[in-house]
Amino acid sequence: MKIGVLIKQVPGAESALPINDNETGIQEDQASFLMNESDSYALEEAQKIIESRGNGEVVAISLGPDRVQKIIREALAKGADRGIHLQTDAKGLADPLTLAKQFAKALESEQFDLIFSGLQSDDSGMGQTGIILGELLNMSTASLVVGTELSENTLKVKRELEAGWSQWVTLTLPASISIQSGLNQPRYPSLKGIMGAKKKELKILSESEFYIDGKKQSIQKVFVPKTNKKTEMIEGEPDTIVARLVDVLKNEVKVL
């Protein structure tokens, strides 16, 4: 059993997001990057499956500039068996169709039984890459996965539906699924894991090995959203703020 996990490095929730001069994206050198949230759940789920079977491998895959090796190493430190870095300096938010074609070109020869990806990336928020990749590699697919049960020739997944509903779906193998947060508790790397990660294989593919020309959609402009709502911003020392909040609760919202 061979599971490929797509992990993307994205600006963390606390990162600054200053817009670049030509307004097509952010100034990356001022952002602080982390592993995409749902991807860390995908990685954990893949590791749990391989661990409970007692054999197989988890391959952590990321596309981007050299900085993404940091999250590949992090995945290796958490116990992934090897890593693949699709190295490119292409800037900005990717077009998911072209991106998935690049993954397909680079990964086809791996013949993964399963590909796990995050439900959506916290930067581009396309929610497509893993599903399109599955389609291109002739795999069955499911999104919004919140539970997995693997048997010999099938994968049963629990899919999240709207408003607290869900549904079990059985997929033929090979399959590519995108993982929703909350289905497990992602582990932290151990010290031993961090030491061991240095010895694990990290294969670097240069862009010429997976490049696909063209872009099916492009971002013209990135901007700070404007708000129409009149929000009263309460400012001052904590005591002043608290006094005004109590006043609001008593006299405006009238709940005290």
């Binding site: 499911a142 929000t231 309460i234 709940v255």
Partner: protein, 322 residues
Amino acid sequence: MDILVVLESKNGSLHRMSREAIVGAQSIAAENGLSISALAIGIDTDQIASSVSGMNLDEVLVANHNLLSTYSADGFAECVKQVIEKENPSLVFVGHTYQTRDYFPKVSARIDKPFIPDVVSLMKEGDFFVFTKTVYNGKLGSKVVSNDSECTLISFQAAAFSEENIESGSASTRSFDIELESSQVRTSSEAPIQEEVSGIDLSSADLIVSVGRGIEKENNLQIVKDLASAINGELASSRPVVDAGWLPSSHQVGSSGQSVSPNLYIALGISGAIQHVVGMKGSKNIIAINKDADAPIFEIADYGVVGNILEIVPKLTEAING
């Protein structure tokens, strides 16, 4: 055919977001001289087709097939692909629902056309449509264009268009034959289940104190519980707090949790991601406390405090308890 709106059935009736997608289509059709067709697939097609027959549409296509009588990503993707290839719409509109999240990327892959998801508005600039969507978890917006002149797939975020603006008219119905074999459908699904909704019903709560990831650790939750009891409110949370196992899922507000509309919603350390906001934006009064002045939650708050909840919340509780 210029615009194809793919409809979705929810418990036998038309999904609200399908109606919104129709409004989106109508908003550009007249001005640009475009025709609109709607497509009902497999499930409850009679009800769905009749629920749109009184709307201003050129035509309703109905695709029935025994393999489409329950939802499958493979079946539905193949169906939409065949309709697009035969009818050549230049724009295909859907709601950004959990179902289209699952199968629209497959349509995109199968026809090799771009899918721009979760769009909040669209505008014609010269000969092109420009689509606005949020990026960076709602912190920034982006204007996106399709580079494909033949066909582009678009899904709209909830409430991108108001269903009240739907134009009435009359639409004829045509059935569309789909060629599908069982080997093309690689999945089988069980009946949907609802997670046990033990615990609290937030939907009727009048006062809600809601906590997000900004609380940092489980131990800190007590300060929020104290505030909730000081004002006699219910405790709620965003998804990460439930994911971390700090509160049971019955407390979660948002698209995959409960929808609430209290008199007062206090959002503590919640960024205001769209999937949270859809569950609480109907609140009459919203107070948000967040240390990040740019957090999107302030866009919908009536009162905002840029500050540290760990500091302000205990002080507020103390002041209320007097």
